[in-house]
Amino acid sequence: MKIRIRSSYTSMIITIGIFLSLVVIGSCVYDNFFSAQNLVNLLIDNSFLIIVALGETLVIISGGIDLSVGSIIAFVSMLVAYLLTTLHWNPFLVICLVLLVGGFVGLMHGILITYFNVQPFIATLAGMFLTRGLSYVISTDTISISNPLFVAISEYRIPFLFDSFLSIGVVITLVILGLFIYIAHYTRFGRAIYAIGSNEMSARLMGLPVNRTKVLVYVLSGFTSSVGGLVFSFYMLSGYGSHAIGLELDAIAGTVVGGTLMTGGVGFVVGTVFGVLIEGIIQTFINFQGNLNSWWTRIAVAVLLLIFIAVQRLLVARREQKKSVKRVETVEYAHSGD
């Protein structure tokens, strides 16, 4: 009996395979590597990155990109610290406010991209400048968070299997993950995202609410970024304008490694989680090795990116080969003509 795997699953399966083999390699090479806590720590240390990458995944599947996620994290951490430490606001009020702020920045992106035809790259670049700049406007120094509720959340440990423990951040991450799996694969909105990413024109002709969906995708990404920012604030207990610089690249890299096509239309929310975890595990390797510097992480991630993009390219090439060459050319021509 031949097992058929849908070709769009291939890169995600490769990703999970690579993650598992990295775990095996790590356990063989390093003594204390294979412990429940060490693996859970991967989740704890990367929780905000996973949350942000989930939002980024939906944006990329819809055919766009969101460069603002790292700066929104910094802005949220700064805003939280400022409102709590300097202005002594009620923590619940602060949490609600920052969630709204992220959604609002996303809404701005969505409107610029959909109604003003600004390229996603440029629109979210503006958002990145804006939020990063605003956090420096609040203060250029680090503000620590000493609010009792935030400290309590930060220090709270939930017992988990094999004497390990989770943080609240991980729980939030898992909730968001569940939400995103539901959105992406079981709702009309999710299917519309995939359709728009594959071919916006045909999605429009099919009568899908293209504009509304695109705006919502960016709002969702802004929202997850602010949730990521909150989790980051719990994790760091400080606000700083230079927090999370370049995090958007890690999020995009994790998404691509997780099997999402940058051209849109193909991708998996779960794959992204493993993509980010692979980045995390490489970092753990380098920590365990001890004598390697952190810039090796960047290089390793870049090499991984290259491999995955090459694999995706091959898959796409194979799919295109199946269609007649002539048809592909016609479709391409129609695309570039409009």
Binding site: N117, F129, L134, A253, V301, S336
Partner: protein, 348 residues
């Protein structure tokens, strides 16, 4: 007659960027003290205007490369990393030791200056070629292909310098970023030369025409017999070279190389300069001169903010507002609204 004339001037792409720059300069003329004052010290000109040209040189170099790449329908987000790599390369190549010569100690580098410069530029060219090959021959999306080098580049730069900040002691090397020629900073002449060469390439050879047709429609370009892949490759190579040169200039100016900070986020400024100039992000028609004005606008804003004593952090917010305004103005929706108004006036 008069409206016709107005139309023909305003329809040039470079018109609006020039108006923007003029407004900025006017603002400075009125509100910033001594903005246009030029001082002659030891035969060298000093002043805010010279400063804008001098400090803007790196951004202008990057914008030249970026203009060609975006015009070909791509984007190069790796220029900042390439700058960091070239900066650390030249800093390492120019390392050497102090030698006693004729009674006073003098610095002697391990590798002659000219050779070091050539090697660095060759390395930058290689990085540009890598981007270009990924985009044109492997058919990767430009943003993904250059993302790889963006992520890896700073790591490679740190690998070259072993993660340290390298101080350069080579006296003659400082001439490029800090020297003067005919009373003006040398960097201005370097940028001018690169700009002229590229302008000649674009305007006086068929390359510019080919580039625009590739940017507007790749498939049509291929069908009309253009070597689309080669043209794309050339654009990325030029961008790599420009970034390499920019890295050399920066290193020469600050006399050291810090792989963490050289060219951080400058790719965004270069893209911004391109977009402000009214060029289309989708590729195709472009104006190199307008891009230069765009880069100067950004530098003028920066110098204005510094000279007015406003916190430099505001720069990011200002940048954001400019991007939003400029890009919204370029969109068809706003143009349609404005166009209707103008049309009515024209009919009356």
């Amino acid at each position: 007659m008069k409206p016709l004339l107005k139309k023909s001037i305003a329809s040039h792409q470079i018109f609006w960027p020039l108006v923007g720059l003029a407004l900025l300069l006017l603002f400075n003329f009125i509100f910033t003290k001594d903005f246009f004052v030029l001082e002659l010290k030891d035969g060298h000109l000093y002043g805010s205007v010279i400063d804008i040209l001098n400090r803007g040189s790196v951004l202008m170099l990057l914008t030249i490369g970026m203009t060609l790449v975006i015009a070909s329908g791509g984007i190069d987000i790796s220029v900042g990393s390439v700058m960091a790599i070239s900066s650390s390369t030249i800093a390492m190549l120019l390392s050497g030791k102090m030698v006693e010569l004729n009674g006073h100690s003098q610095f002697v580098s391990n590798i002659p200056l000219g050779f070091a410069l050539l090697l660095t530029l060759a390395f930058a060219l290689l990085l540009g070629l890598w981007n270009g090959i990924l985009v044109s021959y492997f058919g990767l999306q430009a943003i993904v292909a250059t993302l790889i080098l963006l992520v890896a580049g700073r790591g490679i730069a740190q690998l070259i310098t072993s993660g340290n900040v390298i101080t350069v002691y080579h006296e003659r090397f400082f001439y490029f970023g800090g020297g003067f020629l005919f009373g003006l900073p040398v960097s201005i002449f370097i940028v001018g030369a690169v700009f002229l060469i590229t302008l000649l390439l674009v305007k006086r050879t068929a390359f510019g025409l080919f580039l625009e047709s590739v940017g507007i429609n790749r498939v049509a370009g291929r069908f009309s017999g253009l070597n689309v892949q080669l043209i794309t490759l050339i654009c990325y190579s030029i961008s790599g070279l420009c970034a390499g040169l920019a890295g050399i200039l920066t290193t020469s100016e600050v006399r050291s190389s810090d792989p963490n900070t050289v060219g951080n986020f400058i790719e965004l400024d270069a893209i911004l300069a391109f977009a402000i100039a009214g060029n289309s992000m989708a590729g195709g028609k472009f104006s190199l001169s307008a891009s230069m004005i765009g880069a100067l606008i950004i530098q003028t804003i920066r110098t204005t903010i510094y000279s007015r004593g406003v916190a430099p952090e505001i720069m990011l917010v200002v940048n954001a507002v400019i991007v939003i305004v400029i890009c919204s103005l370029q969109s068809d929706r706003v143009k349609a609204l404005a166009g209707r108004k103008w049309l009515k006036q024209g009919q009356v």
